[in-house]
Symmetry: C2
Subunit: 174 residues, 2 copies
């Protein structure tokens, strides 16, 4: 069955600092029409940064949508036109103070394809060295933590780590 | 450092069929203010359904936000007030035609906590038997596929499977 849906009309509801919201009317495979709510997001990167071969860097961060502090890999949005490898190196240094010359692309994941086009590109960073810390965005505050691979696996199973991109990143290196 | 952000004002931009968009002004840990764009989503479930001990059921589905067909676990949104285990059994039957009396909760993941409150609850379903197929939502069309665990691992590494909740689900059972 050909599953594609053709757009017949579109309305932009909101264009904000980060996201854009559109409402589309589409034709379904059976010829009927349906409404689709679509959020456009610039996409992001997440960095699995190894302090040593068994220790990974995490950031603890308050997330307003869930009113909760989460434990996630260093991550951030892609700036318009920015090379994603540079995004990864920039976010790693901004959030943790570390630099790396040894960064590998692991893959990209779709955060929530039902309504949003956000892709998160996941990198592994090794051979870290100190950069200058404290260059976070002016509206960003994080605490840095270090965890062994064994601790990470336990924290995923126990639900202490809930962030999907973070769990996916460890899926790539198993 | 206390990372919480207090809301000082809020505006509802959009209330749709599935998502709600709000813009909030918040106070940051340093006392400055910032804007937050927040999408509320009802949350969903995903089901890792084993046809036999080495074969998992996938659905191929067109995703309008990325204009692409994806390979994902059977999944769906939680209806208001619905028990999430029933959501999982309902979605499994609607999308694949299979029922199960042997369903286990694996954990929940946050799809994109930077702007959205969507949690996806992941279940494992075993001992499947045939239900009645073809009860999809009227705007939903999927093709069912079967893959071995070895094929799945290869498709994740090769980027054929990109969906974050699907990759996370396999992280829980390793």
């Amino acid at each position: 069955m050909d599953l594609a849906e053709k757009t017949i009309s579109e309305e932009t509801i909101y264009e904000g600092k980060i996201i854009k919201l559109r409402k589309q009317k589409v034709v379904l495979p059976n010829g009927n029409t349906a409404d689709r709510e679509i959020v456009n997001h610039p996409g992001g990167v997440a960095i699995l940064a190894f302090k040593d071969e068994n220790t990974v860097i995490f950031v603890e961060q308050y997330r307003k949508p869930i009113d909760k502090v989460t434990l996630e890999l260093p991550a951030g949005k892609i700036e318009k036109g920015e090379d994603i490898k540079l995004t990864a190196l920039r976010e790693l240094e901004e959030e943790t103070g570390y630099k790396s010359n040894d960064i590998t692309y692991l893959g990209k994941v779709l955060a929530s394809p039902g309504f949003c086009d956000e892709y998160i590109h996941i990198f592994k960073a090794e051979n870290l060295y100190n950069g200058k810390a404290g260059c976070l965005d002016e509206d960003e505050f994080v605490n840095v933590h270090y965890h062994s691979l064994e601790e990470v696996q336990k924290m995923i199973k126990e639900g202490i780590i809930e962030d999907a991109k973070t769990i996916c990143a460890f899926g790539y290196i198993r």
